[in-house]
Structure formats: structure tokens, C-alpha cells
Symmetry: C2
Subunit: 170 residues, 2 copies
């Protein structure tokens, strides 16, 4: 299956000059959705993952599914203010300013073998912040995987030292 | 399994007087997460669902998983401005003001048999808007299901005429 057949490129979204990769056609096609999920799952074989972190919001499309198949716990990494209990957070840089992601502090324990998943690897700032956050809580990031990698943005460099897999590369 | 053992009640979140139902302990426990997913799936038996709509963001924790098991397409219903192509949207009332949800207009076709899923049924405004949106595009809402129903908020009344199932009721 050529997964790119199910990704629609939308020019000038969300702003001029950006070609947005719209993954909704892939999500809407049962066979493509399932096969993409199984391919992401295959990346994790033998890694003995016990926690899967999905990054809000589009990371939630596949991360819970990966967690279920791995019989791992699912941990949503959320924008500030969404999680009700004591959180740990990590800032990352945007083109202008900064943003941050949070998880409940008690969600990761020393010894946890953690998969981090997001839909798109762009500049890598978000994923790197998440890796640092998991490690700061004592977890081991055994893989970071993505549905799509935008190779030309060199996000891979920001994740040096982490095992990185992506299903579709542009 | 008593699913309520995996829901933590957090008083005064997000604002004073509200007791927030925190589902993250359930998500983080592999057995509870899987069993909750399978119980939601069991609600849909025999309904010949071909599209599953999940409502941003917490509806995304289970909706893709349900779609995968049902071999149905997954359609994310998102806050305004997140979807890149032509959308259909429906407003709903909040305590103060209104908000709206969007799906790509071409995601639902006449004849589609649609499951709508969200994590919590509160006042029912969001879910009802989603039902109306799906029907306005010619889809049939064959079930609306929820992980949690806050019975005391009477959201069920706003969904009269739709088949409604919820896993955990308060």
C-alpha cells in the first residue's frame, strides 16, 4: 500500500507558503487506517514497551491504538491546563514564542519503557520536549515514531540519540 | 471489572464546584483500557457501522480504536480552523457563549451508518450538535456512545430520538 495516496497536500494551510499534509483521507479509509496502524506497531516489535505517550491532538489518532495492541498504558500529553492533577511540563519553541506540553507527573515511573508517538515530525521541537520530559521522570524513551516525517525540516537532527521511525517521508 | 475504580474524581477542576472525572488512570492501565474499549465496541454489535466520529480531544482516545475494530472509517470532529479542506460545522451552546465543531464536508455521505463517540456526556450540547451535523450531510446516526454519562446533567434528554449508550454512569 502506498500510504501517500491517502495523504492530501493542501497548499497555504494553515498559512501562506505551507503545504499541509492532511491525513484525514487515510483515517477515513478502513484498510489504509488499519494498515498504517499495523505498520507503526511493527516498528515497535521486541521493544517491550509498557507506556505509549500520544501528543495532543493528532497524536491521539494512533497512539491509543498502539497502546492497546502493545498491551501498554496510554498517556495523553496535553496542552497546559487540561490535566487535573499534578503535572510535569516541558516547553518547546515555536516560530514565534513558546508552547508547552504536560503529562501527569505520576504517569511515568523509573524503569518505564516508553514509546512517544505523534502524527508529523516537523522541526522536532515538540517531540524533543516530550523525550526530555519522559526522561526527567525516569522513563526510558525506547522509540519515537511518526506517521509522517517532513525530512526537509531536519527534525531528525533535534532527536539525535533517540531511536526514530517514521512511516511516510517527504 | 468496576470501571469506576479507574476514574479519579478531582474536586474544583476546571473551576470551583465542579468535580472533574479524570479518566487517565483508566487509560494508563492496559487491562482496564482494553476492557473499556471492548465494552464500548460491544454496544455497537450488529449495527453495521461504517463511520466513527470522535469528538476533539478526549473523544479521540477511544474512537479510532472503535473504528479499527469495526473496520470503519475514523472521522475526527475538530474545533474550528484545524481541518484544511471544506468543512461543515455546527454550533453548540456553552455556559457562556457558543462553540462549534467541524468535519470535512465530504467525510459523510448519504447512507453512511455513523457512530458518534465522546468521553463524557454532560449537558449533551456537543453530542447533539454532532448528531445534527452528521444528519445534515445525509448520514444516519445509529448510535451515540460515551465512556461516562453524568446523569444528573440530563444530557440524555437533549439526545432524545438517538440510540444512546454509556459505559459508566454517575
Amino acid at each position: 500500500m502506498n500510504f501517500k495516496d491517502y495523504i492530501r497536500e493542501v497548499p497555504d494551510f494553515p498559512s501562506k507558503g505551507i503545504v499541509f499534509k492532511d491525513i484525514t483521507p487515510l483515517l477515513e479509509d478502513p484498510a489504509a487506517f488499519r494498515e498504517a496502524g499495523m505498520a507503526l506497531l511493527a516498528f515497535t516489535e521486541g521493544l517491550a514497551i509498557n507506556k505509549v505517550v500520544g501528543i495532543e491532538s493528532r497524536g491521539f489518532f494512533f497512539a491509543p491504538l498502539l497502546a492497546e495492541h502493545l498491551q501498554a498504558g496510554f498517556i495523553p500529553a496535553r496542552k497546559p491546563g487540561k490535566l487535573p492533577r499534578r503535572t510535569s511540563s516541558m516547553e518547546y519553541e515555536l516560530e514565534y514564542g513558546t508552547d508547552s506540553l504536560e503529562i501527569h507527573a505520576e504517569s511515568i515511573s523509573p524503569g518505564d519503557r516508553v514509546l512517544i508517538h505523534d502524527d508529523v515530525l516537523a522541526t522536532g521541537g515538540t517531540a524533543r520536549a516530550m523525550c526530555d520530559l519522559v526522561e526527567s521522570l525516569g522513563g526510558e524513551v525506547v522509540q519515537v515514531n511518526f506517521l509522517i516525517e517532513l525530512g526537509f525540516l531536519k527534525g531528525r537532527e533535534k532527536l539525535e540519540g533517540f531511536a526514530l521511525r517514521s512511516l511516510i517521508t517527504y
